[in-house]
Each structure stands twice: as C-alpha cells, then as structure tokens.
C-alpha cells in the first residue's frame, strides 16, 4: 500500500513536471519543471531498487543537464523579445494529435498484453560492485565507446560554443 502511494506520488510529480515543462510560457519555469520531472523519475528508479541508476539520474539530469538547459535559456534571453515572435507561437494543433496518437497506441498495446500485469521478482538488488564488474568485463567495449563519444561531444560542444574571433576577447 505504502509502495503504491509512493509510486503514485512520484508518478504525479513526474507527469506534472513534464506537462508543465512542455506547456508553461516562461522558459526558465519550463526548465525548472523539467528538473522536477527528472527528479521524480529518479525517485521512481530508487523505488525500483535501482539505487545506482537513481543517483546517477539525479546527478546527471538535475545536476548537469537541467543546469545546462537553464544556462542556455539565459544565454538566449533575447529570443523572447524578438520582433515577429508572434509567428513562432506554439503549434499545438500539430504536436498534440501526434503525441496523443502515439500515446494511444502505446497504452492500447500495454493494456492489451496481460503478461505485463506482473509483480516484481523479490529481493532484487544491484550492488555497486557488481555493476562495476559488469562494466569492466561484459560491457567494457560499450564503456570505452561511451567514453570516446563523450570526449567527442565535449570537444564538439567546445568548438561549437567557441566565440568567433569577431569580438575581442576579454583578456585572460
């Protein structure tokens, strides 16, 4: 019972955050609500006994990605006061039907498969040590690839984000 309530609370937080993130007008509010949704998901992961992933989710999504989004919103502040912003009003008539359609398909298929109504296997835990060992043995290639990818992404982000030499640098 307690689990059920906790799940419902977390799910409500997540969904509310997600809906608010997509619907609010103020970009900063959107970003913060998205952070709330990510945090709610982290709580759900913790409920599902995925401690490590839950903390990683919190660390990366709330601690890094949400901050990055907020930062971008601030750096593109001028976007809200652009002339002709009216032409960029949200086109809900395009998005909502598509989203609803996909949602309906998914829900229908989930509801239609009785095998999905099952209870969790008992006493599951994922010790950090085991995760580490698996990462170093079975998943070592993906891990390395991810490392490479992240490095490439880092370099790419830096290169894209670099100021063109058009304006003079503040002397550093």
């Amino acid at each position: 019972m307690l689990n059920e309530i906790a799940f419902l609370l977390c799910a409500a937080l997540t969904l509310a955050g997600a809906v608010a993130a997509m619907m609010l007008r103020n970009l900063v509010h959107c970003a913060l609500c998205a952070a709330g949704a990510f945090a709610g998901l982290a709580a759900i992961y913790l409920q599902l006994d995925a401690e490590f992933v839950g903390f990683a989710q919190l660390l990366i999504y709330v601690g890094a990605i949400a901050i990055l989004i907020v930062f971008t919103v601030l750096l593109t502040r001028g976007a809200e006061i652009q002339p002709g912003a009216a032409s960029s009003a949200s086109s809900w008539w395009k998005g909502v039907p598509v989203g609803a359609l996909v949602l309906a398909c998914l829900i229908w298929s989930i509801m239609a498969s009785p095998s999905l109504v099952r209870l969790p296997s008992p006493n599951v835990h994922a010790p950090v040590k085991q995760i580490g060992e698996q990462l170093m043995n079975q998943f070592v290639m993906p891990l390395e690839t991810i490392g490479l990818l992240l490095t490439a992404a880092l370099l790419g982000a830096v290169v894209i984000g670099l100021r063109e030499p058009r304006t003079s640098e503040p002397n550093s």
Partner: protein, 104 residues
C-alpha cells in the same frame, strides 16, 4: 501492495507522449530539447521497469542500458545546447522555425 509492471509502462508511455507532443508543438529549440530528454527518460524508465520485473534481474542488463543511455543523453544535451547557443549567436533567435536558411 506494490505497483505492477504495466503501471510503470503506462507512466512511461505518458511521459513519452508528453515529450513528443511538446517537442513537436513548441518552437523554442531549448524546449524541443527538453521534450527529447523526456522521451529518452521514458525509454529509460521502461528499461528499468523491465529489468526489475524481468526474469533475470541479477544480470543487470536493463541497468547497464540505462547507464549508457544517461551518458549519451548528457552528451546529447551538451552538444544540442551548444548548437542552440551557436545558432542563437548568428540568428538572434532560438525558434526552430526560423532556422530556415536552407529552405529554397
């Protein structure tokens, strides 16, 4: 009583739907990225749920997928947002429908 698998899946589907609708509907590039992240998270939730309710939770497959997916999401967000900023610098706008220089 613990929630069953399909409840998690419904939550995930909802999240995906919200993310998709938002990403399609909103014009601001940052919001589109948030929508993408939400969809990614929905997928992650599926992985975790299937891992937890699956027959072999001790193998940690689902967890591993999610870990990698989170890592990729971080890279994606960094790159995507860098792109938004770069475009904003040139065009003074972050509205995706105004990035239309290549349109004939």
């Amino acid at each position: 009583m613990t929630p069953s698998l399909n409840q998690y899946l419904v939550l995930s589907a909802l999240l995906f739907g919200i993310g998709l609708a938002g990403a399609l509907a909103r014009r601001n590039a940052v919001l589109v990225l948030i929508g993408l992240e939400l969809m990614l998270n929905a997928a992650n939730l599926n992985f975790i749920a299937f891992w937890r309710f699956g027959p072999h939770p001790e193998k940690l497959m689902g967890l591993m997928f999610v870990l990698f997916s989170i890592a990729i999401a971080a890279g994606e967000a960094a790159l995507g947002l860098a792109l938004v900023i770069a475009i904003y610098r040139h065009r003074r706008t972050a509205q995706v429908d105004r990035f239309d220089s290549l349109k004939g």
